[in-house]
């Protein structure tokens, strides 16, 4: 299984599932596009890392997860957070820094978390969440809960130590975790191939952990979904972890206002032509879904984004006194008696 996995027996996906994957991708895309505009306008503060172009990975996996499964993602985590069903408004409130924010303003863009939705955090230090995801999987295994942890990270992350430690220990423990490398070809500004000893940063390392090399077209949401289904099932069955390399591309820069100019124009153009959303829209159309239905979805998503923005603009600032709450389980931050 080393290229485009496809739905069972070559059949096309269930229609409802297809539409739901499409909707999820659109939610990610439109939310992030607006977020970027609001960042440039100074409303969104701090930093943002957009996953525009990579939506199929988030949507494909989230669509194959059980509600109580765990997601672990990075600072580039809007897509993964939205795809698990976290509403846009508290996310946007977090980004603009207003009351009602998903984490009360304490985390910010890089740390989106919604335990209620199984989004167990976005981690801003490269590689840290791989061992943590393994731990959640171990816990599920110990509790016999049948839950699976899915852990997303970038190509650059395959060169840091915690990747290696987590993969080995997960394999030895047969932990129910799926490690998903979103290979978008770049670290921040440096092409991954210039700093990596193998061509496929994740897949070419799988054998080092006794795992199969799994590669999927990360811009093909159905292929991703099928790969997700297979690897999650494997984990749930007790057959242990998988390492999936989803080949994709970020349309924009690494973060904030980075225009991503370090990438050859031709390369960017080629990938834009493989936009996961427009190509999937075409595929759904070819499979008989009407333009009207697809347009309706877009209209609904747009108005959800607009509504989130309206709330975000109107919400008050947080109470500065909350800066010192929730360090400890007692709600406070006192370190003395």
């Amino acid at each position: 299984m080393t290229t485009n996995a496809r739905p069972r027996d070559g059949a096309t996906l269930d229609r409802d599932l297809g539409l739901s994957l499409y909707r999820t991708m659109l939610e990610c895309r439109l939310f992030e596009q607006r977020t970027h505009e609001l960042f440039l306008a100074g409303l969104v503060r701090g930093t943002t890392h957009l996953g525009i172009g990579q939506e199929a990975v988030a949507a494909g996996f989230a669509g194959a997860m059980r509600d109580d499964d765990y997601t672990f993602c990075t600072y580039r985590g809007h897509n993964h957070t939205l795809a698990r069903g976290v509403p846009m408004t508290p996310i946007l409130l977090e980004l603009v820094g207003k009351q009602g924010a998903l984490m009360g303003g304490k985390g910010g863009s890089m740390h989106l978390t919604s335990v209620e939705h199984g989004v167990m955090g976005s981690y801003a230090i490269v590689g840290a969440h791989l061992p943590i995801a393994l731990g959640a999987a171990w816990s599920a295994q110990y509790r016999k809960s049948g839950q699976v942890a899915v852990c997303f990270f970038g190509d650059g992350t395959t060169n840091i130590g915690s990747f290696h430690e987590a993969l080995n220990m997960a394999a030895v423990w047969k932990a129910p975790v799926v490690f998903v490398c979103e290979n978008n070809q770049y670290m921040e500004y440096t092409p991954i191939r210039s700093v990596t000893a193998v061509d496929r940063p994740a897949a070419d390392r799988a054998a080092a952990y006794g795992l199969e090399a799994l590669v999927v077209d990360g811009n093909d949401v159905e292929a991703v979904h099928e790969m997700a289904r297979l690897t999650i099932e494997r984990a749930r069955r007790g057959d242990g972890p998988s390492l999936v390399e989803a080949v994709t591309y970020r349309h924009g820069g690494h973060s904030r206002a980075d225009p991503g100019k370090y990438r050859p124009d031709e390369e960017v153009k080629a990938w834009l032509a493989r936009d996961p959303i427009t190509t999937y829209r075409a595929r759904l159309g070819a499979a008989g879904v009407s333009s009207q239905e697809l347009d309706d979805i877009e209209t609904e998503v747009k108005s959800a984004v607009a509504e989130a923005e309206r709330v975000a603009r109107e919400a008050p600032d947080p109470d500065p006194a909350t800066a010192t709450t929730q360090l400890w389980a007692d709600g406070g931050s006192s370190w003395r008696n």
């Binding site: 167990m120 840290a128 731990g135 130590g161 915690s162 220990m169 389980a329 008696n337």
Partner: protein, 328 residues
């Protein structure tokens, strides 16, 4: 009543809590079949089986990271870090992930976990296996830190750490592992954040921790035997939460403060204690506040050199005596 060593007290505390709560699990290098390099987990594998007592590869980031992931999903894991020096290879997990996640998620994530580790010098293991790193942990908001000095406290504070809903670093002092004492049968549970007056005195307060507590007590006895000043020794037991009230009360009585630290000089817990008193208790003080520390160098392996570095009972006694005489 049963006689127990400090190292057995570690396993007793852990075992007590594992009996009580099936969600308590432990992982680390050589902790299972081998019972731990310091034999502080001996017997646990037999009692609780390999699902709850897990041997790991040499992968401290994965060990501590896995403990975090398990803690956020319903378990109460204990990670063993063989030597506290090895925090270096997993410090991101401790300082950046475990310490900050509850805060960053505004309380969505709780991390009831313990990292227990052999800390401190005196065994001639050299600079990379002898550090006292309790101040590394104390400096990071979100970590609780305990460092028991007695066999009883080792059981009771370990139990408290495991039951605590927040991450706790438990420092086991290497020089104390072989110490023995009778401890009560049945459940033992202490409270985090309570110092203990280990010896009452009137002329000066000496605040100590872990392996330095017996030395401070010996110094106090030595001074008493020589007709010197009367020393009150406070065993802090816990750095976070810190029992500020106990130190303030003692200094108010004695008017003089000394701290005895094993960690190298700069930015230790002693500096924190002194600074608090310099702000909140300055009008109680009758003279300079003196920190007795290891000098700001790594510990040497050589016994003569290591003994010259770590505060000894003699050095504590001599420093206290000279300081008080100077001021008088």
């Amino acid at each position: 009543m049963a006689e127990l060593t400090y190292r057995q007290a570690v396993a007793r505390g852990i075992g007590q809590e594992m009996e009580r709560d099936p969600n308590v699990v432990i992982l680390g290098e050589d902790i299972g079949a081998a019972g731990g390099v310091f034999k502080t987990t001996e017997g646990l594998l037999d009692r609780f089986g390999p699902d709850r007592v897990r041997d790991t590869p040499i992968s401290e980031q994965a060990i501590i990271g896995a403990a975090m992931g398990a803690a956020m999903t319903g378990l109460r894991p204990i990670a063993e870090l063989m030597f506290s020096d090895f925090f270096g290879v997993a410090w991101d997990m401790v300082a950046n992930q475990i310490a900050k996640t509850r805060y960053m998620t505004d309380g969505q994530v709780s991390l009831p976990l313990v990292i227990h580790t052999a800390n401190g010098g005196g065994l001639r293991f050299g600079a990379q296996h002898s550090q006292s790193i309790e101040n590394w942990a104390m400096a990071i908001p979100g970590l609780k830190v305990v460092a028991p000095s007695t066999v009883h406290d080792m059981v009771g504070l370990m139990a408290a750490a495991i039951r605590d809903p927040d991450p706790v670093i438990v420092c086991e002092h290497k020089t104390l592992l072989a110490e023995k004492a009778d401890v009560a049968d049945g459940e033992i549970l202490e409270e985090l954040g309570k110092a203990r007056v280990a010896r009452e005195g009137t002329d000066a307060t000496v605040v100590a921790l872990a392996g330095m507590v017996p030395r401070a007590l010996a110094a106090a006895e030595q001074l008493a035997a020589d007709g010197g000043p009367s020393i009150e020794v406070i065993d802090l037991r816990s750095l976070v939460p810190l029992d500020v009230a106990a130190v303030l009360a003692s200094v108010e009585k004695t008017t003089r403060l000394f701290t005895v630290e094993e960690n190298p000089r700069l930015c230790g817990w002693g500096a924190e204690v002194v600074s608090i008193i310099a702000e909140e208790g300055i009008y109680s003080l009758d003279g300079p506040v003196v920190r007795i520390t290891t000098p700001h160098v790594p510990l040497a392996a050589n016994p003569v050199l290591e003994d010259a570095q770590m505060p000894s009972a003699d050095r504590i006694a001599a420093t206290v005596r000279a300081t008080l005489e100077n001021a008088a």
